[in-house]
């Protein structure tokens, strides 16, 4: 039993350390400690002697000093220092397991490591590790109890352990579902390093060249409902100032949008006219909210949302936290209002471009026709590439693209179009964001990756900002089914565990009260409820199966008469007759003295004894008789 206890301790210690590993915060201290720890537990399990106490004390004090130095002087992130400290202590502790109390310290440190990890990661792996931790620690604590009371003989604990672990897990789930939600983690501050924004950026650097690598990192997962749309331009922000190499945003004025009844409403709207996008935004280094224009409302946990003149929406994001928000959009153009001069800004020496633009729009009178002609020209005469050659000396990159290479990617196209539009007097700007996405048919949602980052053009036509996309269409590689499936699981994890919100709680509550109310809920809600329902059902089925397995393994040995006998005893006990499990059938027979009851009990016991120990075969009539007797005993 002690050996099992030690093995469990080793597993628990490992879960803590492994969880730190999946958080991605790997450093030499971690690796070293892990190796030492594995050796330590190897010794423990092999029953080798523990390290002398003074070395342990010395090492512990040294570690503590190093931690203090690390946390207050060297490190910028105290959580990482704490993680370092715990893993070092775990390694030391693996050589110092003498009393059951020592093992409890290990459990505690592992728990601490798991909590720290939860701050660093949103990975689905963490869920698995947590389950391992939960089940092992429950088993270990039960074992600790038995070791403490000094039980020497072997007892079979597997069944109660499995049962208690299942109950604990169920309770944890209930707690998870029912406790009030707080936005943000325990520390309130993000720690995970953001995804490197090789795709989307708040600046567009035009001067770069070389091969652009498509970054397959997933940025957003989106569930769509409501009004359908043909193609998806996830609008982010606009850029208006071009210095010849780089685009910048000069817009700085923002106004706050107020939250009313849970919605940040930008413009009054009717829900049935909107396209609803539930967006799970991975941590990318931006405060910008993406959505299909025109965004009329946003639903999110955040308290503040602001918007600037260009309809870019900002949310003060916890830096490295996932963000979950719902965007309501209508199919309307952006109203331009007063057009500032900055949308006609041009860098120097743009004559060649102006000449080209004028040639293209020759004979066109309407602004819209002019813009469309330029868009068409770029789309047809130029080709898409991710491998941009180095510009020839003395030539500016935009001239190089337009007149020499005629190859480029979206930023080249968008820039070229804006410059051409501006050169012929049409106010315009660059828009950055994402385009398209893959539909994951397993989860019924859209995946948007960094490689979906895109730039396009908005130009003033009449008094509206109209969207143009001069970039030619590119064929996209389709991801494999397995990848889609795995991503679906990640999405579910994000959806139902990481971003489980108070509105989900409300939904579950609604679901529970559903039978008592008139079903007048809108469509999309029903769909959500269906999701939750299936989730709950699966959980129920799994637990029922587990319970059945557990029960059948117990009941298998009992034949029908025995079960009836056990039932009868249960009934008698309920009647307040003091029968104990230590009583034999003979004892019970003598114990029951009440007239009427006595005869029935005796008959049942005699039948049971004959069938069970006298090897008498059970007939159908006798089965009926058992049932009858049980009923009669119950009735008396």
């Amino acid at each position: 039993m002690l050996r099992t206890y030690n093995i469990l301790t080793a597993i628990i210690a490992l879960t803590g350390s492994v969880s730190l590993f999946i958080s991605g915060e790997i450093n030499p201290v971690f690796l070293f400690s892990l190796v030492v720890m594995i050796y330590g537990y190897f010794r423990v399990v092999k029953n080798m002697p523990q390290a002398p106490k003074w070395t342990i004390n010395l090492l512990s004090i040294t570690t503590l000093i190093i931690f203090l130095l690390d946390a207050f002087i060297a490190s910028d992130d105290y959580l990482v220092s704490v993680a370092n400290l715990t893993i070092l202590f775990q390694a030391i502790k693996s050589f110092d397991l003498r009393e059951p109390w020592d093992n409890l310290q290990v459990f505690f440190m592992s728990l601490l490591q798991l909590i720290i990890t939860s701050e660093f990661t949103n990975s689905i792996l963490f869920g698995g590790i947590f389950i391992v931790f939960l089940s092992s620690s429950v088993s270990a604590i039960i074992l600790a109890h038995f070791i403490k009371i000094g039980l020497k003989e072997k007892i079979v604990l597997t069944k109660p352990m499995v049962l208690i672990t299942l109950i604990t897990f169920a309770l944890t789930t209930i707690l998870f579902i029912s406790i009030p939600r707080i936005a943000g983690g325990i520390w309130g501050k993000g720690h995970k390093k953001g995804i490197k924004t090789a795709g989307f950026s708040e600046r567009v650097n035009f001067g770069s060249f070389g091969t652009v690598k498509l970054d397959p990192t997933i940025v957003m997962r989106i569930e769509l409902s409501g009004k359908e749309r043909k193609d998806f331009y996830w609008r982010g922000m606009t850029l208006d100032y071009f210095n010849g190499i780089m685009w910048e945003n000069t817009e700085s004025g923002r106004r706050l949008i107020y939250k009313r009844e849970g919605f940040f409403t930008i413009k009054p709207f009717k829900k049935e006219n909107t396209l609803i996008q539930k967006i799970y935004l991975e941590p990318i280094d931006t405060e910008i909210i993406f959505g299909i224009p025109l965004i009329v409302a946003i639903e999110t946990n955040s308290r503040i949302i602001s918007m600037d003149e260009t309809n870019t929406i900002y949310v003060p994001m916890k830096k490295n936290k996932q963000l979950f928000y719902t965007v309501y959009s209508v199919d309307e153009p952006i109203y331009s209002g007063f057009i500032e001069k900055k949308y006609l800004q041009l860098p120097e020496s743009m004559d060649r471009i102006k000449e080209l633009a004028s040639n293209i729009v020759k004979g066109k009178n309407k602004t819209l026709d002019k813009a469309m002609a330029i868009e068409k020209h770029l789309k047809e005469k130029y080709s898409y590439t991710l491998n941009v050659p180095e510009p020839s000396r003395g030539m500016n990159p935009i001239d190089d693209f337009l007149f020499r290479t005629k190859k480029g990617y979206c930023e080249h196209y968008a820039t070229a179009m804006v410059l051409m539009l501006r050169s012929i007097g049409i106010p315009s700007r660059i828009v950055t964001g994402f385009y398209g996405g893959e539909i994951n048919s397993y989860g019924g949602y859209l995946i948007v990756r960094q490689s979906n980052a895109h730039s396009w053009v908005e130009a003033v036509i009449g008094n509206e900002w109209r969207k143009f996309d001069p970039t030619p269409a590119v064929s996209v590689e389709k991801p494999s089914i397995i990848m889609l499936y795995l991503d679906m699981m990640k999405m579910q994890w994000n959806r139902y565990v990481v971003s489980f919100s108070s509105s989900d709680q409300k939904n579950i509550f609604n679901l529970l009260t559903f039978p008592f109310r008139i079903p007048d809920m809108p469509d999309f809600r029903l769909k959500k409820i269906k999701d939750i329902l299936s989730f709950v059902l699966i959980a129920l089925i799994i637990s029922t199966i587990a319970l059945l397995i557990h029960k059948s393994s117990k009941k298998k040995h009992y034949t029908y008469p025995t079960i009836q006998y056990i039932k009868a005893i249960g009934i008698l006990k309920k009647k307040g007759i003091k029968i104990t499990d230590k009583m034999t059938s003979t004892d019970i027979r003598r114990f029951i003295k009440k007239d009427g009851l006595k005869e029935k009990v005796e008959e049942l016991i005699t039948m049971y004894e004959e069938h069970r120990f006298g090897k008498k075969t059970l007939t159908h009539e006798e089965k009926k008789r058992y049932k009858m007797l049980l009923k009669q005993i119950k009735a008396i």
Partner: protein, 307 residues
């Protein structure tokens, strides 16, 4: 009906020894199981009467041997005596050649004599000078020990105790019964008046029938776990021997037979185990059989019953 006869037998013995139905039943069970009985009790509670009445009721021969310190083995098993007429040695059978033998205060005699008796009990035959004499059937020794007086006694070693199937206590009768006893003539006189209900042949027949009583597998496991536990328990220095298990099974079968069942119940085993095992274990502390019985009860409480 066999169990009817047995019940009648028990009631008849109860006329002589009042208020001791359990002791009587145990004695009969031992007889039916071809075992021997050890009664550990103070004098004057009816040990001799019990043995005598049983013998009378089943129409068997009865002998009482008072064990004293100078008793010789030949005083029990018999001796070869020279017959001048035939000029041959003739074997004169000792008191052991009886169906029911009461060995009174067995611990008063020397070990040599004790072992002579116990060997005879075990083998059911006597060998004297290359000649073997079978003991009569049925054959049962009822030995008594006085637990209070140890002065000048030779306590039976464990190997000898192991040969007794069961040990019982008779104990004082209840006040009501004792009052009746005061007025009655001596119990032996009453015993002399009773008529046999069955014959010794009936007992032999019954003993054979008992062999066929059914024992369900889980009951064997139950016995085995009791035995295993006696060998593991901290308080016990020496656990139950394999013979102990055999005896428990046999006596449980007899108990089932006694009740007119053709199968053994857990209750039979549960009830008899302390009586069959109590004298077979040695506790770490010096103690009486009654203490050992309590330990066995304790063990029985721990082991789950077969359901």
């Amino acid at each position: 009906m066999a169990n009817n006869l047995l019940n009648q037998l028990q009631s008849q013995i109860e006329i002589v020894i009042k208020g001791k139905s359990n002791a009587i039943k145990m004695a009969l069970l031992t007889l039916l199981s071809k075992g021997h009985l050890l009664i550990e009790d103070i004098p004057g509670v009816g040990k001799t009467t019990l043995a005598y009445t049983i013998a009378k009721s089943i129409n068997c021969s009865f002998q009482r041997i008072q064990f004293t310190s100078d008793l010789l083995p030949t005083d029990i098993i018999g001796v070869n005596i020279y017959n001048p007429e035939t000029r041959e040695f003739e074997f004169r059978r000792g008191p052991i050649f009886s169906n029911i033998v009461l060995a009174d205060e067995i611990n008063r005699t020397n070990p040599k004599t004790q072992s002579a008796l116990l060997e005879a009990m075990n083998e059911r035959r006597i060998s004297v000078e290359r000649k073997t004499y079978l003991l009569p059937e049925p054959f049962m020794v009822i030995a008594t020990q006085n637990p209070v007086e140890y002065h000048g006694t030779f306590p039976l070693p464990e190997s000898q105790l192991d040969r007794f199937m069961m040990h019982i206590k008779i104990g004082y009768p209840e006040r009501e019964y004792e009052k009746q006893v005061l007025l009655q003539p001596s119990p032996i006189e009453i015993a002399d008046t009773i008529k046999p209900i069955i014959t010794s042949n009936d007992i032999i027949k019954m003993q054979k029938e008992i062999e066929n009583i059914e024992v369900e597998e889980s009951l064997l496991d139950y016995i085995m776990s009791i035995i295993a536990e006696t060998r593991k328990d901290d308080r016990i220095r020496l656990g139950v021997s394999p013979r102990g298990g055999q005896f428990l099974l046999r006596v449980s079968k007899s108990a089932a037979y006694f009740e007119g069942r053709h199968y053994v119940l857990p209750g039979d085993i549960r009830e008899l185990a302390p009586l069959v095992f109590g004298h077979r274990i040695i506790l770490k502390t010096k103690s009486y059989i009654s203490d050992a019985e309590k330990v066995i009860e304790d063990i029985l409480h721990k082991i789950p019953l077969p359901l």
